[in-house]
Each structure stands twice: as structure tokens, then as C-alpha cells.
Amino acid sequence: MTKNIMIVGVGGQGTLLASRIIGNAVISEGHDVKISEVHGMSQRGGSVVTYVKFGDAVYSPVIDRGEADIILAFEMLEAYRALPFLKKGGKMIVNTQRIDPMPVITGAMEYPENILEKLSAKADITSVDALSIAKAAGNTKAVNVALIGVMAKNTEIAYDVWEKVLRETVPEKFLEANLKAFKAGYEL
């Protein structure tokens, strides 16, 4: 059975690195894995979606609507946008950060109100202030790793495996803050 993780956020938030960390944790457990990334134009502050799929044999690298076991959302509006992709009974982890998209900045549209309440009514969600966790850990850019920490608890992969992958993936000078952020997320 394939397990599907979808990571959504805003270009520049570190979703790509998050997908690679998750991918490497998954392969160390001996699964087949496919990760679909987005590079190029859509990374420039636009909606960014990456998929991590693992299991005995994975074919399609993309996840369709209603098929994500876990959605890791780095921003509230992007969480809301991703809602149709969540599997019935799936889990969504939402960072409570708000980043206004350009149509909101120009005043053409409003940022939707009460997203967390609306999501809670339709899905199993955990909301996390990952920015505060990252700040407390000493690096605001560790938002992605804090969120992975929250998610890691919902997987069968052991804490040590995650820590090992972080040590292999994160550059030395950011490692301490990232390990702290991961732990804080994991223990939340």
C-alpha cells in the first residue's frame, strides 16, 4: 500500500528541502519512493506543491484529489487550497503562518477568514505555530523542520532515523537550530 504525503506552501519557505528530508527518511526504512518537486517559475513566491509517495512499488509521482494520507501545510491559505487532496480519514498539519498572495496585496481579493475553523469542520487537522518554534530554536528558516517534527510523530519511522537524516541533509552551521526545531515539533 502506498503512503502519500503532500507538502504545500509558498515558494521560498523550504518545502523542497522538507520533501527531500522526508524522502531520505523513508528510503532508510527500505521503501520504494517517488518525490515530485516543482522548480523554476512557480517557486517565485507562488503556490508550491511537492509529493512524497512510498510503499512496495510506487508508479505515479503525483497525488490526486482525495489521496493524501498526510498534508503538511506551511501556510494557511495553501492548506485550504490543498483540502480536496486529503484522503478521507487523512491528517493535515497546518502552520498558522499567513502570507498574503498578490491578489490580496493588490486588493483584488480578500484573504479567507477563519481558515482553521473551516478546515477543522471538514478534516482532522493539527495547527502549529511553527514560526515561533523555529524562532525559539534560533533560526526562523527552520519552520520546515519544525513541521516535519510534528509530522514525524504520525509516521512509523523512528526518531533516530529522522535525526540521522537531518544530520546528513542540513548544513553544519544550521544543524543545531534545526535539530532543536525538529525536537520541539516532535514533542508538541
Binding site: V10, G11, R20, G23, N24, I27, D32, V33, K34, I35, S36, E37, V38, H39, G40, M41, S42, Q43, R44, G45, G46, S47, V58, Y59, S60, P61, V62, D64, R65, G66, E67, L77, E78, Y80, R81, L83, P84, F85, L86, K87, K88, Q97, I99, D100, P101, M102, P103, V104, I105, T106, G107, A108, M109, E110, Y111, P112, K122, A123, L131, T140
Partner: protein, 577 residues
């Protein structure tokens, strides 16, 4: 050992293992990482060439000289290199010659959705299409062998989902390939009519041999599970089909997409009651089937547009719906890509918009100057078209129109194909104003060096093209360097240059804010002097937004570039450390 690699890195790995010696490319999403990854291997010569045509010619020269060589590009880059490609089809390959092209169904980062398989047929060059990362490596290695065996270039066709999806790839060692002998051979390598007429005969013989090979090519595989429904697929569409249809149908997966097999397809169709062709973009395989007189389902049931999904395939082939899902139930704002906080182009487009100019645009991050609120760019066609297009506009509408017209083009794009347009302007007595947006890097594709940066792909220092001298050398006498963040001065310069009755070049110089060498510090903050005029909102900076009645700057988005400080007429924005 197995490693997670994106398809592009797997192509590079395959080329490296096959002993490639020369790789030349121009960046273009989704193909860029192939060449970037190639440069991590010490053995081959790897370069960013000035454009795809130059890159392909470098690879062709290397092949003729006896080296295994490769050139990689995005689909529209293949248009640029099509000229040498069509003729090297006649010349063939001495050292294995591989062109790798990445299509972009769904147009994640492209200006059109063309299907490069048509090029294989048009240029009579064999084409392979891998479906995932392991196949990317395997097919690329094989492409060099096939190129040498059949004396032909080989095209590897990728698509965004193959290029940018990671899969587990078995790593092998590099096998060094000695240079093949180089002998002067005009009959093969000098393509003038007398020789080319004879070579065309060879090409047609080769096509017949390749068509025979297609019947037995190990990349064309059949999996028979039923006599009811068979599907014919290639590339990532095969992966979608496998996921959607499992063992409920039979598969003919075509890893070699040109030339296509005849007997293999006929036999497969004959074994099934119904056959469906599943291919993204154009009906290439389907047309081949129809030409063979075979009844298949294809684009009558599937779209010509965008990417496919397993759910779409399940619905068409089995008539089954996809998984249940929750609806959002309201219209929510889209989040299109925007210029980054601190982007130097923001100052440029703010001024161009303020002056109400017609802007002939080009390909790069600055294409985003077309979207609100800057909404300044009028046209975007292809690499280089800003300069030559502006010349055409001015010739069509005359001198007064030209005084309100500029062309904008990035430094790398200018090197790629803007300089030829500029020469055309000077030569043909044009008076255009061309703004070179010099941000010291190739931005949109993710920071590649180019002839104006002074570094090679391996970050070795090299000669740096001096844009100012270059513009002067082709005959532009008015060349001004200006900082687009000094809004007042930049506005003055643009006004002066567009008024001038001669061609002029403005070099808008400020580096990309994402470069490691750019060190903006602190962040900007709105003080109580704010009159809520919202002039700063006209910058379209992702860090500035309105919450309730207040204009606020998001610290996590702001990098302290200070452009908004320059815009505020009340001095209400201050920089904090």
C-alpha cells in the same frame, strides 16, 4: 548502491557513466539540473553556452572530433537549436551524440506547451523517452551506444514530471571511452548539396534500420494481463496508467518513441478488444496507429492540454471515479509567482509603469513585470524578442510611439539572442531604447553563470563580457548605467533616453537579491507617520500588505532592500537593523 535522484540528475549520471566528455547547454526549466549536475563530475568539459544553438554546435563539434557529447535544453530551446540538429542528422555521430530535451506539459515554467516528439520525426533522429529516474539513467547510457552503433544523434525526451521527480537509481562506475579517431571526411561532415544529397540516402537507410530495431528495442515492453483492454503509453503517462489501471489492462510501453514500431503495435492491438493510447500533449503515437489502419481510442477521449493524472485515466479507460474528496466550497485567491522581496526588477517596472511606457518584454524573472500591480510588460514571445520586437513596433508605428516604448531584457537573455536584435536596430536606423536588466546572474532558472558574470559553470573566473563596451561596439552611442533602486535618477534616465533620436541602451544594474553576495540587512518597518496613501502597495512587494486599516510589513518576507523607503513620500517607512 541506490540513491534518490531527480530524473535530470539521473540523466547526468547516465551520461557520466557512459563516459561523456563534453556537455554544453543553455539553462531552461525543466532541463537545467542535468547540466548543473554534470558539472559536479570532474571528468567532462561542461559549459553553459550562450544559447541552445551554440550549445548543440559545441556538442556536434565534439562528437565529430570523436568524443561522446551531449547538449540539454527545454522544449523551446530545441527550437533555437533546430538548425544544426536537422543537418547533423545527415552527418551522424562519430563519438556518441545525445540531445536531451525536456517538455513542460502544463506549462509550469514555459511560454508554450509544444510536443518535441515532432522534432524527432521532422529531423529523422531517433528518440527515447524514459518514464522515471532509473529509466533516465538507463536510457541515457544506451543512447550513447545507439548513437555510435547507428551513426545517428539520439534525442532523449523528458517532461517536467520525469525531470523533477525523484526515484531510486542504482549507481554504477564510469566507463572511460577513448576518443574515436578523427579523420577528415568532407563527404560526411561538409553538408553542401553534392554531399548532402548522398547523405540523405544514408539517413533514409538508417531510418529503415532503426524502424527494424524498434521492433526489438528492449525499451518497448509488453505486459499482457487481459484480452479486453490494452493501453499504449510512453513516458510518465505510463506511470499514471499503471497506478490507475493496475493489472486490469494490458500495456505496451514505448520507451523508443521515434521511429515507432509497426509489427509490435499491430500484434498488441490484435490481441485486445479495445486499445487506448495514453500520451500527454499531441497524438503522436495515436496518429502512427491510425496510419497503420488501427482502430484506437486517443484524443477523442483525452485532452490535448496540460498534464494527465491517474484519476483522469481511470475515468476514461475504466469509467470509474477517483477518490472521494472534500470541497473547499468558496472561491479562494490564487497565488501566482511574484518577483521576490528585494528584486531589482521591481524598481525598473515601477518606473516604467509610472511613465506609462509600452514595454516589449522577454523571458526571465522579469516576465513577472506583466502581472498586477506592476502590470508593465506588454509583450513576451521568446528569448530575445523584446529587442527585435520593439524595433518592429517602432517601425510600424513611428517616432512618437517609439518615444513611449522600451525593450527590457535580462543580462543572460541579452547574451542568448538580444545582441543580434540590437545590431539589427543600429544597422536598420532604429531609435529604440533597450533596457538590459543586469542582475549579475541567470535568475529564473536558479542562478546560472553566463558570459556577463565572469565565472564558468564550475565557478572558475573567466573573461567577463562588458555590456557597456559591447553596446558601444555595435554602434550604440548612448549607453547609460543606472541603479533601478534609485527611483528618481532611474526615471530621469529613462525619460532622457526615450526622448533621444538615436538608439540607446540603459544598463539597469543591481544584483539579484537571492545571490549570496547580496547582503541586505535588517528589515523595513512602517512608522506612525504613515498616511495610508498605499503608494508602497504599488510596488507589489510580497512583504507589504494591508491588515484591516493598517499597512504592515511582514518581517519574515522582508529582506531590508529598502526600495519601499525610497517610494514613501512621507518618510513613514524606516529601516531597522
Amino acid at each position: 548502491m541506490k540513491k534518490l535522484l531527480i530524473g535530470n540528475d539521473a540523466v547526468a549520471r547516465g551520461a557520466w557513466e557512459a563516459g561523456v566528455r563534453v556537455v554544453a547547454s543553455y539553462p531552461g526549466t525543466p532541463s537545467t539540473e542535468i547540466t548543473e549536475c554534470m558539472a559536479k563530475y570532474p571528468e567532462p568539459h561542461v559549459e553553459w553556452s550562450t544559447n541552445e544553438k551554440v550549445a548543440a554546435e559545441v556538442a556536434i563539434g565534439a562528437s565529430i572530433a570523436g568524443a561522446r557529447s551531449m547538449s540539454c535544453m527545454k522544449h523551446v530551446g530545441m527550437n533555437v537549436m533546430a538548425d544544426p540538429m536537422f543537418t547533423v542528422s545527415y552527418i551522424g555521430a562519430n563519438g556518441g551524440l545525445v540531445f536531451c530535451v525536456a517538455d513542460d506539459p502544463g506549462m509550469h515554467s514555459s511560454q508554450n506547451e509544444q510536443d518535441s516528439r515532432h522534432y524527432a520525426k521532422a529531423s529523422k533522429i531517433m528518440m527515447l523517452e524514459p518514464a522515471d529516474s532509473p529509466e533516465c539513467k538507463e536510457y541515457t547510457k544506451a543512447a550513447f551506444e545507439l548513437s555510435e552503433k547507428y551513426d545517428t544523434p539520439v534525442i532523449i525526451r523528458l517532461s517536467t514530471r520525469v525531470s523533477h521527480s525523484q526515484g531510486l537509481v542504482e549507481l554504477c562506475d564510469r566507463v572511460e571511452q577513448p576518443l574515436k579517431d578523427y579523420e577528415k571526411n568532407p563527404a560526411k561532415n561538409v553538408m553542401m548539396p553534392g554531399n548532402a544529397i548522398k547523405r540523405h540516402v544514408v539517413v533514409e537507410e538508417r531510418m529503415a534500420a532503426l524502424a527494424a530495431y524498434a521492433e526489438e528495442c528492449p525499451f518497448n515492453t509488453t505486459e499482457v494481463n487481459t484480452d479486453k483492454i490494452g493501453v499504449i503509453t510512453s513516458g510518465v503517462a505510463h506511470m499514471y496508467a499503471k497506478e490507475a489501471l493496475g493489472d486490469k489492462v494490458s500495456y505496451l510501453k514505448l520507451g523508443m518513441v521515434y521511429p515507432l514500431p509497426e509489427k509490435l503495435i499491430k500484434d498488441f492491438v490484435a490481441k485486445h478488444e479495445k486499445v487506448v493510447v495514453i500520451e500527454e500533449l499531441d497524438p503522436v503515437i495515436e496518429s502512427h496507429c491510425r496510419a497503420l489502419g488501427l482502430e484506437v481510442v486517443g484524443k477523442d477521449a483525452f485532452t490535448l492540454l496540460g498534464e494527465y493524472t491517474p484519476t483522469m485515466i481511470k475515468k476514461v479507460v475504466l469509467g470509474e471515479e477517483g477518490a472521494e474528496f472534500a470541497e473547499i466550497g468558496e472561491t479562494i485567491p490564487v497565488r501566482p509567482p511574484v518577483m521576490c522581496a528585494g528584486c531589482p526588477h521591481r524598481g525598473t517596472f515601477y518606473v516604467l509603469k509610472k511613465l506609462g511606457l509600452t514595454v516589449s518584454g522577454d523571458i526571465g524573472c522579469y516576465t513577472l513585470g506583466a502581472v498586477a500591480p506592476l502590470a508593465s510588460v506588454d509583450t513576451t514571445v521568446c528569448m530575445g524578442a523584446s529587442v527585435s520586437g520593439a524595433h518592429g513596433m517602432a517601425k510600424a508605428r513611428g517616432a512618437e510611439f517609439n518615444k513611449k516604448l522600451v525593450a527590457v531584457i535580462g543580462d543572460s537573455t541579452f547574451m542568448h539572442s538580444g545582441i543580434t536584435g540590437l545590431i539589427d536596430i543600429v544597422y536598420n536606423k532604429g531609435n529604440n531604447t533597450v533596457i538590459i536588466l543586469d542582475n549579475s546572474i541567470t535568475g529564473m532558472t536558479g542562478h546560472q553563470d553566463n558570459p556577463t558574470t565572469g565565472f564558468t559553470i564550475r565557478k572558475e573566473p573567466t573573461k567577463q563580457v562588458d555590456l557597456e563596451l559591447l553596446a558601444k561596439a555595435v554602434g550604440v552611442e548612448r549607453v547609460v548605467v543606472a541603479d533601478p533602486f534609485d527611483l528618481k535618477d532611474f526615471e530621469r534616465v529613462v525619460k532622457e533616453e526615450t526622448e533621444a533620436d538615436e538608439p540607446s541602451v540603459i544598463i539597469a544594474q543591481r544584483p539579484c537579491a537571492l545571490l549570496k553576495t547580496v547582503k541586505y540587512t535588517g528589515h523595513c518597518k512602517i512608522s506612525d507617520k504613515c498616511k495610508k496613501c498605499k503608494l508602497c502597495m504599488k510596488l507589489g512587494c510580497p512583504a507589504i500588505s494591508v491588515r484591516g486599516d493598517e499597512v504592515v510589513i511582514d518581517e519574515t518576507q522582508c529582506n531590508g532592500c529598502g526600495l519601499c523607503v525610497n517610494v514613501c513620500p512621507f518618510g513613514a517607512i524606516e529601516k531597522e537593523d
